[in-house]
Amino acid sequence: MLEAPAIAALTILVLALFVGVEVISKVPPLLHTPLMSGSNAISGITIVGAILAAGTEHAALAKWLGFAAIVFAMINVVGGFLVTNRMLAMFKPKDRKAD
Protein backbone atom coordinates (compact mmCIF):
# COMPACT_ATOMS: atom_id res chain seq x y z
CA MET A 1 0.00 0.00 0.00
CA LEU A 2 2.89 2.37 0.75
CA GLU A 3 5.79 2.69 -1.67
CA ALA A 4 9.42 2.47 -0.51
CA PRO A 5 10.23 6.21 -0.17
CA ALA A 6 7.16 6.71 2.02
CA ILE A 7 8.18 3.80 4.27
CA ALA A 8 11.70 5.23 4.51
CA ALA A 9 10.33 8.65 5.45
CA LEU A 10 7.98 7.11 8.01
CA THR A 11 10.89 5.20 9.55
CA ILE A 12 12.89 8.41 9.81
CA LEU A 13 9.90 10.17 11.36
CA VAL A 14 9.38 7.59 14.08
CA LEU A 15 13.09 7.34 14.94
CA ALA A 16 13.45 11.14 15.00
CA LEU A 17 10.46 11.40 17.36
CA PHE A 18 12.19 9.02 19.78
CA VAL A 19 15.45 10.98 19.54
CA GLY A 20 13.49 14.20 20.07
CA VAL A 21 11.77 12.90 23.21
CA GLU A 22 15.07 11.61 24.64
CA VAL A 23 16.98 14.81 23.96
CA ILE A 24 14.25 17.30 24.95
CA SER A 25 13.43 15.50 28.21
CA LYS A 26 16.89 16.47 29.45
CA VAL A 27 16.34 20.21 28.95
CA PRO A 28 15.79 21.83 32.39
CA PRO A 29 12.71 24.06 32.95
CA LEU A 30 15.19 26.93 33.37
CA LEU A 31 15.77 26.84 29.60
CA HIS A 32 12.26 26.07 28.37
CA THR A 33 11.79 29.45 26.69
CA PRO A 34 15.09 29.29 24.74
CA LEU A 35 14.15 25.70 23.88
CA MET A 36 10.90 26.89 22.32
CA SER A 37 12.45 29.76 20.37
CA GLY A 38 15.42 27.61 19.34
CA SER A 39 13.33 24.64 18.24
CA ASN A 40 11.11 27.10 16.44
CA ALA A 41 14.07 28.31 14.44
CA ILE A 42 14.76 24.66 13.56
CA SER A 43 11.19 24.28 12.27
CA GLY A 44 12.17 27.03 9.84
CA ILE A 45 13.79 24.13 7.90
CA THR A 46 10.70 24.53 5.70
CA ILE A 47 12.98 27.11 4.01
CA VAL A 48 14.39 24.13 2.06
CA GLY A 49 10.99 23.43 0.52
CA ALA A 50 10.36 27.14 0.03
CA ILE A 51 13.59 27.61 -1.92
CA LEU A 52 12.71 24.68 -4.19
CA ALA A 53 9.23 26.13 -4.77
CA ALA A 54 10.43 29.64 -5.58
CA GLY A 55 13.62 28.74 -7.45
CA THR A 56 12.49 26.07 -9.88
CA GLU A 57 11.03 26.84 -13.29
CA HIS A 58 7.27 26.34 -13.05
CA ALA A 59 3.94 28.15 -12.66
CA ALA A 60 4.26 31.82 -11.63
CA LEU A 61 1.72 31.45 -8.80
CA ALA A 62 3.69 28.56 -7.32
CA LYS A 63 6.85 30.66 -7.42
CA TRP A 64 5.15 33.54 -5.60
CA LEU A 65 3.80 31.21 -2.93
CA GLY A 66 7.35 29.91 -2.60
CA PHE A 67 8.65 33.46 -2.27
CA ALA A 68 6.18 34.20 0.54
CA ALA A 69 7.18 30.91 2.20
CA ILE A 70 10.87 31.88 2.02
CA VAL A 71 10.12 35.19 3.75
CA PHE A 72 8.13 33.55 6.56
CA ALA A 73 10.60 30.70 7.05
CA MET A 74 13.55 33.07 7.04
CA ILE A 75 11.94 35.29 9.70
CA ASN A 76 11.53 32.09 11.70
CA VAL A 77 15.15 31.03 11.20
CA VAL A 78 16.92 34.37 11.69
CA GLY A 79 14.52 35.74 14.33
CA GLY A 80 14.45 32.43 16.21
CA PHE A 81 18.20 31.82 16.38
CA LEU A 82 19.05 35.45 17.21
CA VAL A 83 16.46 35.83 19.94
CA THR A 84 17.53 32.50 21.44
CA ASN A 85 21.11 33.67 21.38
CA ARG A 86 20.10 36.90 23.13
CA MET A 87 18.30 34.99 25.85
CA LEU A 88 21.02 32.42 26.43
CA ALA A 89 23.65 35.15 26.78
CA MET A 90 21.74 36.35 29.87
CA PHE A 91 21.92 33.09 31.82
CA LYS A 92 24.93 33.47 34.11
CA PRO A 93 26.14 31.33 37.04
CA LYS A 94 26.60 32.97 40.43
CA ASP A 95 30.42 33.13 40.55
CA ARG A 96 30.46 35.57 37.64
CA LYS A 97 29.52 38.88 39.17
CA ALA A 98 28.99 41.54 36.51
CA ASP A 99 30.03 44.48 38.68
Binding site: L2, E3, A6, A9, I12, L13, A16, V19, G20, V23, I24, K26, V27, P29, L30, L31, H32, T33, L35, M36, S39, N40, A41, I42, S43, G44, I45, T46, I47, V48, G49, A50, I51, L52, A53, A54, G55, T56, E57, A59, A62, L65, G66, A69, I70, A73, M74, I75, G79, G80, F81, V83, N85, M87, L88, A89, M90, K92, P93, R96
Partner: protein
Protein backbone atom coordinates in the same frame (compact mmCIF):
# COMPACT_ATOMS: atom_id res chain seq x y z
CA UNK B 1 26.75 19.39 -6.50
CA UNK B 2 25.02 16.08 -6.97
CA UNK B 3 21.82 15.16 -5.24
CA UNK B 4 23.67 12.62 -3.09
CA UNK B 5 25.98 15.27 -1.69
CA UNK B 6 23.01 17.52 -0.97
CA UNK B 7 21.34 14.67 0.91
CA UNK B 8 24.54 14.18 2.92
CA UNK B 9 24.53 17.90 3.74
CA UNK B 10 20.97 17.50 5.06
CA UNK B 11 22.13 14.61 7.22
CA UNK B 12 24.90 16.78 8.69
CA UNK B 13 22.35 19.53 9.33
CA UNK B 14 20.04 17.08 11.14
CA UNK B 15 22.92 15.83 13.31
CA UNK B 16 23.81 19.43 14.19
CA UNK B 17 20.18 20.11 15.17
CA UNK B 18 20.17 17.09 17.50
CA UNK B 19 23.53 18.02 19.05
CA UNK B 20 22.34 21.62 19.35
CA UNK B 21 19.22 20.58 21.23
CA UNK B 22 21.24 18.21 23.42
CA UNK B 23 23.51 21.08 24.47
CA UNK B 24 20.42 22.87 25.79
CA UNK B 25 20.49 20.43 28.72
CA UNK B 26 22.82 22.81 30.61
CA UNK B 27 22.95 26.62 30.67
CA UNK B 28 26.73 26.33 30.31
CA UNK B 29 26.60 24.68 26.90
CA UNK B 30 23.29 26.12 25.67
CA UNK B 31 24.76 29.03 23.69
CA UNK B 32 27.10 26.66 21.86
CA UNK B 33 24.12 24.43 21.12
CA UNK B 34 22.22 27.29 19.57
CA UNK B 35 25.20 28.11 17.34
CA UNK B 36 25.42 24.45 16.27
CA UNK B 37 21.75 24.45 15.25
CA UNK B 38 22.24 27.71 13.35
CA UNK B 39 25.24 26.28 11.48
CA UNK B 40 23.13 23.22 10.63
CA UNK B 41 20.49 25.50 9.16
CA UNK B 42 23.08 27.41 7.14
CA UNK B 43 24.41 24.13 5.69
CA UNK B 44 20.86 23.04 4.78
CA UNK B 45 20.10 26.36 3.06
CA UNK B 46 23.37 26.47 1.08
CA UNK B 47 22.96 22.83 0.00
CA UNK B 48 19.44 23.54 -1.25
CA UNK B 49 20.65 26.50 -3.29
CA UNK B 50 22.96 24.10 -5.14
CA UNK B 51 20.13 21.90 -6.44
CA UNK B 52 20.21 21.79 -10.23
CA UNK B 53 16.51 22.56 -10.45
CA UNK B 54 17.00 25.86 -8.62
CA UNK B 55 17.47 28.33 -11.46
CA UNK B 56 15.70 31.52 -10.41
CA UNK B 57 18.11 32.89 -7.80
CA UNK B 58 16.74 36.43 -7.95
CA UNK B 59 13.48 35.49 -6.29
CA UNK B 60 15.15 33.17 -3.78
CA UNK B 61 17.79 35.67 -2.69
CA UNK B 62 15.20 38.46 -2.48
CA UNK B 63 13.03 36.32 -0.18
CA UNK B 64 15.98 35.35 1.98
CA UNK B 65 17.04 38.99 2.34
CA UNK B 66 13.55 40.29 3.18
CA UNK B 67 12.95 37.54 5.75
CA UNK B 68 16.40 37.90 7.30
CA UNK B 69 16.07 41.66 7.76
CA UNK B 70 12.62 41.32 9.37
CA UNK B 71 13.86 38.51 11.62
CA UNK B 72 16.99 40.43 12.58
CA UNK B 73 15.13 43.62 13.49
CA UNK B 74 12.44 41.73 15.42
CA UNK B 75 14.99 39.70 17.40
CA UNK B 76 17.01 42.80 18.27
CA UNK B 77 14.09 45.02 19.25
CA UNK B 78 11.81 42.67 21.20
CA UNK B 79 11.76 43.28 24.97
CA UNK B 80 12.26 40.25 27.21
CA UNK B 81 8.83 40.87 28.75
CA UNK B 82 7.34 40.49 25.26
CA UNK B 83 8.99 37.13 24.61
CA UNK B 84 5.74 35.10 24.82
CA UNK B 85 4.26 37.17 21.98
CA UNK B 86 7.46 36.83 19.96
CA UNK B 87 7.49 33.04 20.32
CA UNK B 88 3.79 32.90 19.42
CA UNK B 89 4.39 34.94 16.27
CA UNK B 90 7.40 32.82 15.21
CA UNK B 91 5.32 29.65 15.66
CA UNK B 92 2.69 31.15 13.38
CA UNK B 93 5.19 32.07 10.67
CA UNK B 94 6.52 28.51 10.71
CA UNK B 95 2.98 27.25 10.12
CA UNK B 96 2.46 29.78 7.32
CA UNK B 97 5.63 28.65 5.54
CA UNK B 98 4.53 24.99 5.62
CA UNK B 99 1.08 25.80 4.23
CA UNK B 100 2.55 27.94 1.46
CA UNK B 101 5.11 25.31 0.44
CA UNK B 102 2.43 22.61 0.22
CA UNK B 103 0.23 24.99 -1.81
CA UNK B 104 3.10 25.83 -4.15
CA UNK B 105 3.77 22.11 -4.66
CA UNK B 106 0.17 21.44 -5.67
CA UNK B 107 0.03 24.41 -8.05
CA UNK B 108 3.38 23.41 -9.56
CA UNK B 109 2.03 19.90 -10.17
CA UNK B 110 -1.14 21.27 -11.76
CA UNK B 111 0.90 23.27 -14.27
CA UNK B 112 2.92 20.21 -15.26
CA UNK B 113 -0.08 17.86 -14.85
CA UNK B 114 1.68 15.46 -12.47
CA UNK B 115 -0.88 14.20 -9.94
CA UNK B 116 0.75 13.27 -6.61
CA UNK B 117 0.77 9.61 -5.64
CA UNK B 118 1.14 7.47 -2.53
CA UNK B 119 1.15 9.35 0.75
CA UNK B 120 1.77 12.75 -0.87
CA UNK B 121 -1.92 13.79 -1.12
CA UNK B 122 -2.41 13.04 2.59
CA UNK B 123 0.79 14.91 3.45
CA UNK B 124 -0.36 17.93 1.41
CA UNK B 125 -3.64 18.02 3.31
CA UNK B 126 -1.87 17.71 6.69
CA UNK B 127 0.63 20.47 5.81
CA UNK B 128 -2.11 22.87 4.78
CA UNK B 129 -4.36 21.95 7.70
CA UNK B 130 -1.80 21.98 10.55
CA UNK B 131 0.07 24.93 9.07
CA UNK B 132 -3.11 26.99 8.72
CA UNK B 133 -4.31 26.23 12.26
CA UNK B 134 -0.83 27.09 13.58
CA UNK B 135 -0.81 30.41 11.72
CA UNK B 136 -4.13 31.87 12.88
CA UNK B 137 -4.03 30.14 16.29
CA UNK B 138 -0.66 31.80 16.92
CA UNK B 139 -1.91 35.16 15.69
CA UNK B 140 -4.82 35.00 18.16
CA UNK B 141 -2.41 33.96 20.95
CA UNK B 142 -0.20 36.89 19.94
CA UNK B 143 -3.17 39.31 20.02
CA UNK B 144 -4.18 38.05 23.48
CA UNK B 145 -0.65 38.34 24.88
CA UNK B 146 -0.09 41.76 23.29
CA UNK B 147 -3.47 42.79 24.73
CA UNK B 148 -4.79 43.72 21.31
CA UNK B 149 -7.82 41.67 22.37
CA UNK B 150 -9.19 40.48 25.69
CA UNK B 151 -7.15 37.81 27.46
CA UNK B 152 -10.33 36.29 28.91
CA UNK B 153 -11.96 33.32 27.20
CA UNK B 154 -14.37 34.38 24.44
CA UNK B 155 -17.49 32.26 24.52
CA UNK B 156 -20.84 32.25 22.75
CA UNK B 157 -23.87 29.95 22.89
CA UNK B 158 -23.35 26.59 21.21
CA UNK B 159 -19.63 27.23 20.79
CA UNK B 160 -18.54 23.61 21.20
CA UNK B 161 -21.30 22.45 18.85
CA UNK B 162 -20.37 25.02 16.19
CA UNK B 163 -16.66 24.20 16.50
CA UNK B 164 -17.38 20.47 16.22
CA UNK B 165 -19.53 21.07 13.12
CA UNK B 166 -16.79 23.16 11.49
CA UNK B 167 -14.17 20.54 12.40
CA UNK B 168 -16.30 17.80 10.81
CA UNK B 169 -16.83 19.93 7.70
CA UNK B 170 -13.08 20.51 7.49
CA UNK B 171 -12.47 16.78 7.79
CA UNK B 172 -14.86 16.15 4.89
CA UNK B 173 -13.06 18.76 2.76
CA UNK B 174 -9.75 17.09 3.64
CA UNK B 175 -11.00 13.70 2.48
CA UNK B 176 -12.23 15.21 -0.78
CA UNK B 177 -8.87 16.91 -1.33
CA UNK B 178 -7.00 13.63 -0.75
CA UNK B 179 -9.19 12.02 -3.45
CA UNK B 180 -8.68 14.84 -5.97
CA UNK B 181 -5.39 16.43 -4.95
CA UNK B 182 -5.11 18.76 -7.91
CA UNK B 183 -8.37 20.63 -7.24
CA UNK B 184 -7.35 24.24 -6.48
CA UNK B 185 -10.82 25.13 -5.21
CA UNK B 186 -10.71 22.34 -2.63
CA UNK B 187 -7.16 23.28 -1.67
CA UNK B 188 -8.28 26.86 -1.01
CA UNK B 189 -11.31 25.60 0.92
CA UNK B 190 -9.16 23.41 3.20
CA UNK B 191 -6.74 26.29 3.76
CA UNK B 192 -9.62 28.65 4.59
CA UNK B 193 -11.20 26.13 6.97
CA UNK B 194 -7.84 25.60 8.71
CA UNK B 195 -7.37 29.34 9.17
CA UNK B 196 -10.88 29.64 10.62
CA UNK B 197 -10.34 26.67 12.96
CA UNK B 198 -7.11 28.18 14.29
CA UNK B 199 -9.02 31.30 15.38
CA UNK B 200 -12.00 29.41 16.82
CA UNK B 201 -9.85 26.98 18.81
CA UNK B 202 -7.75 29.63 20.55
CA UNK B 203 -10.30 32.40 21.35
CA UNK B 204 -12.03 30.37 24.14
CA UNK B 205 -8.70 29.81 25.95
CA UNK B 206 -7.86 32.18 28.83
CA UNK B 207 -4.60 34.07 29.32
CA UNK B 208 -3.45 31.92 32.24
CA UNK B 209 -3.58 28.84 29.99
CA UNK B 210 -1.33 30.45 27.38
CA UNK B 211 1.76 28.40 28.39
CA UNK B 212 -0.07 25.27 27.16
CA UNK B 213 -1.32 26.92 23.96
CA UNK B 214 2.10 28.28 23.03
CA UNK B 215 3.79 24.94 23.69
CA UNK B 216 1.13 23.15 21.62
CA UNK B 217 1.41 25.60 18.70
CA UNK B 218 5.18 25.14 18.91
CA UNK B 219 4.61 21.44 18.42
CA UNK B 220 2.19 22.06 15.52
CA UNK B 221 4.74 24.22 13.70
CA UNK B 222 7.11 21.25 13.83
CA UNK B 223 4.48 18.72 12.77
CA UNK B 224 3.51 20.96 9.82
CA UNK B 225 7.16 21.06 8.70
CA UNK B 226 7.25 17.28 9.11
CA UNK B 227 4.17 16.85 6.87
CA UNK B 228 5.76 19.15 4.29
CA UNK B 229 8.79 16.84 4.40
CA UNK B 230 6.53 13.98 3.23
CA UNK B 231 5.12 16.19 0.45
CA UNK B 232 8.61 16.92 -0.89
CA UNK B 233 10.09 13.53 0.11
CA UNK B 234 12.77 15.47 1.99
CA UNK B 235 14.32 13.82 5.05
CA UNK B 236 15.74 17.10 6.41
CA UNK B 237 12.22 18.42 6.91
CA UNK B 238 10.95 15.13 8.34
CA UNK B 239 13.73 14.89 10.94
CA UNK B 240 13.73 18.56 11.99
CA UNK B 241 9.95 18.75 12.01
CA UNK B 242 9.59 15.70 14.24
CA UNK B 243 12.27 17.00 16.65
CA UNK B 244 10.32 20.23 17.07
CA UNK B 245 7.02 18.36 17.22
CA UNK B 246 8.36 16.14 20.02
CA UNK B 247 9.76 19.15 21.86
CA UNK B 248 6.45 21.01 21.78
CA UNK B 249 4.51 17.93 22.86
CA UNK B 250 6.79 17.35 25.85
CA UNK B 251 6.45 20.99 26.92
CA UNK B 252 2.67 20.77 26.48
CA UNK B 253 2.58 17.72 28.74
CA UNK B 254 4.79 19.39 31.38
CA UNK B 255 2.51 22.45 31.38
CA UNK B 256 -0.67 20.37 31.65
CA UNK B 257 0.82 18.29 34.49
CA UNK B 258 1.81 21.49 36.31
CA UNK B 259 -1.85 22.52 36.25
CA UNK B 260 -3.18 19.03 36.98
CA UNK B 261 -5.42 19.28 33.94
CA UNK B 262 -5.82 17.29 30.76
CA UNK B 263 -5.00 18.87 27.42
CA UNK B 264 -8.69 18.54 26.49
CA UNK B 265 -9.71 20.48 29.58
CA UNK B 266 -7.24 23.26 28.78
CA UNK B 267 -8.35 23.50 25.15
CA UNK B 268 -12.09 23.21 25.64
CA UNK B 269 -12.65 23.97 29.34
CA UNK B 270 -12.72 27.80 28.95
CA UNK B 271 -10.99 28.06 32.32
CA UNK B 272 -11.40 31.45 33.95
CA UNK B 273 -14.81 32.11 32.43
CA UNK B 274 -16.79 30.93 35.48
CA UNK B 275 -15.47 33.79 37.64
CA UNK B 276 -18.67 34.67 39.49
CA UNK B 277 -19.47 31.10 40.40
CA UNK B 278 -16.00 30.51 41.82
CA UNK B 279 -15.93 33.70 43.89
CA UNK B 280 -19.33 33.01 45.41
CA UNK B 281 -17.85 29.76 46.69
CA UNK B 282 -15.25 31.62 48.70
CA UNK B 283 -17.64 33.38 51.12
CA UNK B 284 -16.34 34.65 54.42
CA UNK B 285 -12.70 33.66 54.70
CA UNK B 286 -11.69 36.20 57.35
CA UNK B 287 -9.94 39.46 56.75
CA UNK B 288 -6.77 40.12 54.87
CA UNK B 289 -4.39 42.46 56.65
CA UNK B 290 -2.75 45.29 54.73
CA UNK B 291 0.79 46.36 55.60
CA UNK B 292 3.16 49.03 54.32
CA UNK B 293 6.65 48.46 52.89
CA UNK B 294 8.00 50.03 56.10
CA UNK B 295 6.33 47.33 58.23
CA UNK B 296 7.73 44.69 55.91
CA UNK B 297 11.27 46.09 56.08
CA UNK B 298 11.45 45.25 59.81
CA UNK B 299 10.60 41.61 59.21
CA UNK B 300 12.84 41.29 56.13
CA UNK B 301 15.80 42.76 58.01
CA UNK B 302 15.48 40.19 60.77
CA UNK B 303 15.16 37.25 58.38
CA UNK B 304 17.84 34.65 57.63
CA UNK B 305 16.30 33.22 54.50
CA UNK B 306 13.99 34.80 51.93
CA UNK B 307 12.27 33.17 48.97
CA UNK B 308 10.80 35.30 46.18
CA UNK B 309 7.91 33.82 44.17
CA UNK B 310 7.50 35.69 40.88
CA UNK B 311 4.42 35.49 38.68
CA UNK B 312 2.91 37.14 35.64
CA UNK B 313 2.34 40.32 37.71
CA UNK B 314 6.10 40.80 37.89
CA UNK B 315 6.30 40.73 34.10
CA UNK B 316 3.39 43.15 33.71
CA UNK B 317 4.93 45.62 36.18
CA UNK B 318 8.41 45.13 34.61
CA UNK B 319 9.59 44.67 38.19
CA UNK B 320 12.41 42.18 37.54
CA UNK B 321 15.23 44.73 37.82
CA UNK B 322 13.78 46.26 41.01
CA UNK B 323 13.52 42.75 42.48
CA UNK B 324 17.14 42.06 41.64
CA UNK B 325 18.17 45.25 43.49
CA UNK B 326 16.06 44.25 46.47
CA UNK B 327 17.60 40.79 46.63
CA UNK B 328 21.09 42.31 46.27
CA UNK B 329 20.44 44.50 49.35
CA UNK B 330 19.21 41.46 51.27
CA UNK B 331 22.20 39.38 50.20
CA UNK B 332 24.56 42.17 51.30
CA UNK B 333 23.07 41.87 54.81
CA UNK B 334 23.90 38.18 54.74
CA UNK B 335 20.35 37.00 54.06
CA UNK B 336 20.01 33.96 51.80
CA UNK B 337 17.72 34.74 48.88
CA UNK B 338 16.28 32.25 46.41
CA UNK B 339 13.57 32.34 43.77
CA UNK B 340 10.83 29.71 43.56
CA UNK B 341 9.76 29.07 39.97
CA UNK B 342 6.45 27.34 39.23
CA UNK B 343 6.37 25.68 35.78
CA UNK B 344 3.31 27.67 34.66
CA UNK B 345 4.20 31.01 36.24
CA UNK B 346 3.86 33.60 33.50
CA UNK B 347 2.57 33.17 29.99
CA UNK B 348 4.92 30.59 28.49
CA UNK B 349 7.22 27.79 29.66
CA UNK B 350 10.30 29.30 31.30
CA UNK B 351 8.95 32.87 31.20
CA UNK B 352 10.08 33.84 34.74
CA UNK B 353 13.57 32.38 34.25
CA UNK B 354 14.18 34.54 31.19
CA UNK B 355 12.99 37.72 32.92
CA UNK B 356 15.13 37.12 36.00
CA UNK B 357 18.13 36.17 33.89
CA UNK B 358 17.67 39.46 32.05
CA UNK B 359 17.85 41.24 35.42
CA UNK B 360 21.16 39.44 36.07
CA UNK B 361 19.85 37.07 38.73
CA UNK B 362 22.25 34.08 38.68
CA UNK B 363 20.44 31.00 37.38
CA UNK B 364 21.44 28.84 40.34
CA UNK B 365 19.17 31.02 42.50
CA UNK B 366 16.15 30.00 40.40
CA UNK B 367 14.80 26.90 42.12
CA UNK B 368 12.21 24.53 40.66
CA UNK B 369 9.03 23.76 42.55
CA UNK B 370 9.80 20.18 43.62
CA UNK B 371 13.16 21.21 44.98
CA UNK B 372 12.03 24.27 46.93
CA UNK B 373 8.73 23.03 48.38
CA UNK B 374 10.40 21.04 51.22
CA UNK B 375 12.37 24.19 52.14
CA UNK B 376 9.39 26.48 52.86
CA UNK B 377 8.88 25.36 56.51
CA UNK B 378 12.44 26.56 57.22
CA UNK B 379 12.03 29.81 55.28
CA UNK B 380 11.61 33.02 57.31
CA UNK B 381 10.03 35.25 54.69
CA UNK B 382 8.36 34.55 51.35
CA UNK B 383 7.69 37.43 48.98
CA UNK B 384 4.91 36.62 46.50
CA UNK B 385 5.25 39.00 43.60
CA UNK B 386 2.42 39.01 41.09
CA UNK B 387 1.78 35.29 41.49
CA UNK B 388 -1.59 33.98 42.60
CA UNK B 389 -2.93 30.61 41.51
CA UNK B 390 0.51 28.96 41.71
CA UNK B 391 0.67 29.70 45.48
CA UNK B 392 -3.00 28.97 46.24
CA UNK B 393 -3.27 26.55 49.20
CA UNK B 394 -6.83 25.70 48.08
CA UNK B 395 -5.17 23.46 45.49
CA UNK B 396 -4.05 21.26 48.41
CA UNK B 397 -6.85 21.77 50.95
CA UNK B 398 -10.16 22.57 49.26
CA UNK B 399 -11.61 19.71 47.26
CA UNK B 400 -14.33 21.98 45.85
CA UNK B 401 -11.78 24.37 44.36
CA UNK B 402 -11.50 24.30 40.56
CA UNK B 403 -7.72 24.04 40.91
CA UNK B 404 -7.80 21.27 43.56
CA UNK B 405 -4.95 18.84 42.89
CA UNK B 406 -2.76 21.30 40.99
CA UNK B 407 0.81 21.18 42.33
CA UNK B 408 1.51 24.55 43.96
CA UNK B 409 4.33 26.31 45.79
CA UNK B 410 3.61 25.71 49.49
CA UNK B 411 4.50 29.25 50.58
CA UNK B 412 1.98 29.29 53.44
CA UNK B 413 4.32 26.94 55.35
CA UNK B 414 6.91 29.72 55.72
CA UNK B 415 7.03 31.85 58.90
CA UNK B 416 5.93 35.07 57.17
CA UNK B 417 4.40 35.56 53.74
CA UNK B 418 4.21 38.95 52.04
CA UNK B 419 1.95 39.21 49.03
CA UNK B 420 2.34 42.22 46.77
CA UNK B 421 -0.84 42.67 44.79
CA UNK B 422 -2.72 45.47 43.09
CA UNK B 423 -6.02 44.76 44.85
CA UNK B 424 -8.00 41.90 46.38
CA UNK B 425 -9.37 40.86 42.98
CA UNK B 426 -9.02 37.14 42.36
CA UNK B 427 -6.35 36.04 39.89
CA UNK B 428 -6.64 35.29 36.22
CA UNK B 429 -8.43 32.00 36.77
CA UNK B 430 -10.98 33.89 38.89
CA UNK B 431 -10.40 31.72 41.95
CA UNK B 432 -10.30 33.20 45.46
CA UNK B 433 -7.02 32.62 47.27
CA UNK B 434 -7.23 31.62 50.98
CA UNK B 435 -3.51 32.40 51.31
CA UNK B 436 -4.41 36.10 51.56
CA UNK B 437 -6.46 35.45 54.70
CA UNK B 438 -3.98 33.30 56.61
CA UNK B 439 -2.59 34.57 59.93
CA UNK B 440 1.00 34.58 58.69
CA UNK B 441 0.16 36.39 55.43
CA UNK B 442 0.61 40.12 55.10
CA UNK B 443 -0.70 41.97 52.06
CA UNK B 444 1.01 44.99 50.55
CA UNK B 445 -1.23 46.64 48.00
CA UNK B 446 0.18 48.53 45.05
CA UNK B 447 2.12 48.26 41.80
CA UNK B 448 4.70 45.47 42.12
CA UNK B 449 7.63 47.57 40.92
CA UNK B 450 6.76 50.59 43.10
CA UNK B 451 6.29 48.47 46.21
CA UNK B 452 9.55 46.59 45.67
CA UNK B 453 11.50 49.85 45.27
CA UNK B 454 9.89 51.29 48.44
CA UNK B 455 10.63 48.08 50.30
CA UNK B 456 14.26 48.18 49.18
CA UNK B 457 14.64 51.81 50.32
CA UNK B 458 13.06 50.99 53.68
CA UNK B 459 15.40 48.00 54.17
CA UNK B 460 18.46 50.08 53.29
CA UNK B 461 17.46 52.74 55.82
CA UNK B 462 16.52 50.27 58.51
Amino acid sequence: MTTTLIQLAYLIAAVLFILGLRNLSSPKTASLGNVMSAVGMLIAIVATLLYQEVVDYGMVIAGILVGSVIGLVAARRVAMTDMPQMVALLNGFGGAASTLVAGAEVIGRISTDQPPTGVVPIAVVLSVLIGGITLTGSLVAFAKLQELMTGSPIQYPGQQFINAAIALGTLALCVLLVMSPLDVGLLAAVAGAALLLGVLLVIPIGGADMPVVIALLNSYSGLAACATGFVLDNSALVISGSLVGASGLILTKIMCDAMNRSLGNVLFGAFGAQTEQAVVGGEDQGTATAYTPLDAAVIFSNAQSVVVVPGYGMAVAQAQHAVRELTDSLAESGIEVNFAIHPVAGRMPGHMNVLLAEADVPYDRLIEMDEINPQFPETDVVLVLGANDVVNPAAREDESSPIYGMPVLEVDKATHVFVIKRSMNPGFAGIQNPLFFKDNTMMIFGDAKKVVIELNDAIKNY
